[in-house]
């Protein structure tokens, strides 16, 4: 069994002549929250799409919990889950039904599925809206449900693609608290372009610029490397090539 949750070796994705991800290599330890930080179009979403089997790498290899993405995707699908960038819920199903649907799709029996729905409703404080149709929930609640749907399958690795994109400040902070509660229990790979989010939540941050990882380390290591005092300044210094790493 691999000691890493993720091992990525020279992973590349091109769309025609456009390079979305250009030969990225990295490792992510188990149980940490790893953030991919970058501006829009940096390649963050393409990167996690490849790790989920949602996009086929052009070159390179990736291993999730020791399983090859190219050859053992069915095993990986049972071990991982994703909360996509856009809220991904069935709008005419209630919160309960959305959660139960996901549990059932991943093969849980009726008893286990119901038990797990209750646990996740508790964990995400969704009881007050459990009978409400997902399409009628506010953006913040929908996003919380979307993450709960990813977590109900007990994944060992969870991908959160821009989880707080488009949320108001209160909903964002509430979601951060939810994500903080998950830390240490499973491996989380989060993509974001919010510096404050990466700073607050991450154990490790990779700065992605134009499809390449320009720097990787803890937030404090990035401060040290760049000589800056905030992640925003450090990010700008790395993205604009002020510091060579």
């Amino acid at each position: 069994m691999s000691e890493y949750a993720l091992e990525v070796r020279a992973l590349k994705k091109t769309f025609g002549s456009k390079v979305a991800v250009g030969g990225v290599s990295l490792t992510v330890e188990k149980g940490i929250l790893f953030s991919l930080l970058g501006v829009n179009g940096a390649g963050k979403t393409t990167m996690i799409r490849m790790l989920n089997g949602l996009s086929k790498p052009t070159e390179g290899q990736a291993f999730v919990m020791g399983h090859s993405v190219a050859q053992e995707l069915s095993q990986i699908k049972q071990l991982s889950n994703i909360s996509p960038q856009e809220t991904a819920v069935a709008p005419n199903l209630s919160v309960w039904e959305n959660l139960e649907f996901m549990a059932d799709i991943y093969g849980m029996n009726r008893e286990k599925s119901r038990k797990r729905v209750q646990e996740v409703l508790d964990q995400f404080a969704l009881h007050e809206v459990e009978q409400q149709r997902a399409g009628t929930l506010s953006g913040g609640w929908q996003r919380r449900l979307s993450i709960a749907m990813a977590l109900i399958t007990n994944p060992e690795i969870l991908y959160l693609d821009e989880p707080t994109l488009g949320l108001d400040v209160l909903a964002r902070k509430e979601l951060w608290r939810t994500i903080e509660d998950l830390k240490g229990k499973i491996t989380i790979v989060l993509t974001t372009h919010y510096m404050e989010e990466a700073e607050r939540l991450s154990d490790q941050v990779a700065v992605m610029v134009a499809g390449e990882i320009k720097a990787c380390g803890t937030v404090h290591e990035l401060y040290t490397i760049t000589g800056k005092k905030t992640l925003e300044d450090a990010f700008v210094a790395i993205a604009e090539g002020e510091v060579s790493i």
Partner: protein, 253 residues
Amino acid sequence: MRSIIFCKRTIKELLRDPLSYIFCLGFPIVMLIIMSVVNNSIPAEAHMDIFQIQNLAPGIAVFGLTFVMLFACLQVSKDRTTAFLTRLYASPMRPVDFIAGYTLPLLIIAVLQAVINFVTSFVIGLISGYTFQLFHVLLCLVALLPTALLFIAFGLFAGSLLNDKAAPGICSLLITAACILGGIWMDVDSIGGILKTVCQVLPFYHGVQAARMAMQGEYSQLGKPFFIILIYALVIYTFAVLAFQKKMRSDLK
């Protein structure tokens, strides 16, 4: 098993959409009642039997199925447009689970719709002095199945290739074509000429004919339109499945 789980979800999504009731049930029944009233105003000397309840009921049943196509198309295109299918693509679901999960609920809704249409027709028949034979009604339900599959296939096809804004427009065109060229609202056989040839080349006319022949117990004339519509349905459905799988593969590139 995952197909069944996805079926349940699709049925819930469809049955909880008020538009399903308006278009799939309300509109065909309203048309059935209006056309029955129109039929009462047509003098017997006109020899126009297309709106008589025994012809109208199977025609309206096919008309109703065109709206099942609309809902098939909207359901698939909406799922594709939102990130819901992305989430499911990352799950252990296989392409066959998606296809079955969309098709079976729509077939069930198509049959329920036809049953409600025939119950309403039965009541209208009692008022106007016509009695439907149960065996013929059941035979007509069977004869409608290939037409239902055909329209579901058109819906899957459009939903797979178009977004949720473009897809309804294309379906509206198909609904209009099916009504006119299928002979639901006019007697194609008495018009004849190039229009009849066009109608015979397309599948809709055969679907309507099969339903009408079954309802009237014309066993000797039922086979030909039934097999023609069945072949059309299987071919178009195969194309729809291929289009869905191709779109799924391209989404996963």
